[in-house]
Symmetry: C2
Subunit: 174 residues, 2 copies
DNA sequence: GGCAGTAAGTCAGCATTGTTGACATATTTC
DNA sequence: GAAATATGTCAACAATGCTGACTTACTGCC
């Protein structure tokens, strides 16, 4: 926090407040609407929805992911997860393997076609992000990355950053 | 686009690609999940959901909004909108007035309690944004605003920016 | 004045994706 | 062997999208 006490000492701001970032609240809505909307179009041609996308994405990025870890990432119930996971497995996009150390665990991995779909979806989203970063100018990427990380709940932030880094280690996927 | 042709001329990048921004794809997911999740908690104590929030928010920000404009913002069908709008009207959070020039139009405005709820929800989201901006350092706000605007579909961007500006004109709401 | 077009409301039914609760199975750990 | 753990499954329900069809009220225009 950068010197919050200054605010009440500043005569101009003493009786007023910092304007609430309504522009950002609204831009987050519109940006997210269009960001996921474009992927939805691709997904619907496969008979899948947004929930399938999330599962496929994280399995592609974190091969060997378990059900428990996925539930923790998505914050949904296992019944909801199982419904979409079943579609993906039956469609030949995801495979399950028994864990090595613990055979109760199901390690999830993408098949060739699952990987292809995940990458296709990531490409349309990456293109949109790349254009937005490009238009926004220098240093934007670092600022945006920090901002988004700061938007994640404090208790979960370290875990999220670790997951994102884990995904990166698996390579740029290109 | 900053000199995309350079990429194929750069010997280091000639056979490879720019790494896809997987970190940003994932951070957008986690940031949005927690951003709306916190508001959902408040909403559920009123028996409302995310869809009610969106309607209430934009009506509070753009008093006198018509059904047609709201449908264009939310990109849902009038049947979906009507379901949640009816809840908000019956709950005494939104009022409808006949249009002045065109009496077919319903001008939507928040009641006192509707305004209070809208502001309460905006406050928790503003607080999260303010903290994230603060942690991310100087110049972040401009960069993030530009980035988010760039994420909006090109065809809709001018309209979105106009709406956001229109909302701002109504005052800082504090 | 009457008629076409427009803004909005409504009914019915359905899909996706979230929820609870209860219970089953396989495996590990103690 | 018993308890705990990881996962799967059945059933029912809620929120929020959708399509299609039809109504009502009002405006604009010939």
């Amino acid at each position: 926090m950068s010197a919050p006490a200054l605010q009440s000492l500043d005569p101009v701001r003493a009786t007023t407040h910092v304007a609430a970032p309504y522009d950002l609240i609204e831009l987050i809505f519109f940006a997210y609407r269009d960001f996921v909307g474009e992927a939805d179009l691709v997904l619907s041609s496969y008979g899948f929805g947004r929930a399938h996308h999330r599962v496929l994405h994280f399995v592609d990025r974190l091969p060997g992911l378990t059900i428990a870890e996925l539930l923790d990432i998505l914050r949904i119930t296992k019944q909801s997860l199982n419904r979409v996971l079943r579609d993906l497995v039956e469609g030949g996009f995801i495979e399950q393997r028994a864990g090595v150390a613990d055979r109760r665990r199901r390690l999830l991995v993408t098949t060739r076609s699952g990987e292809a779909l995940a990458r296709e979806l990531a490409r349309v989203q990456s293109d949109r992000i790349a254009k937005a970063l490009d238009q926004a100018g220098e240093d934007t990427r670092v600022a945006v990355t920090r901002f988004l990380a700061g938007m994640v709940g404090e208790g979960d932030r370290a875990h999220v950053l670790e997951l994102v880094a884990r995904g990166r280690i698996n390579g740029p996927h290109l």
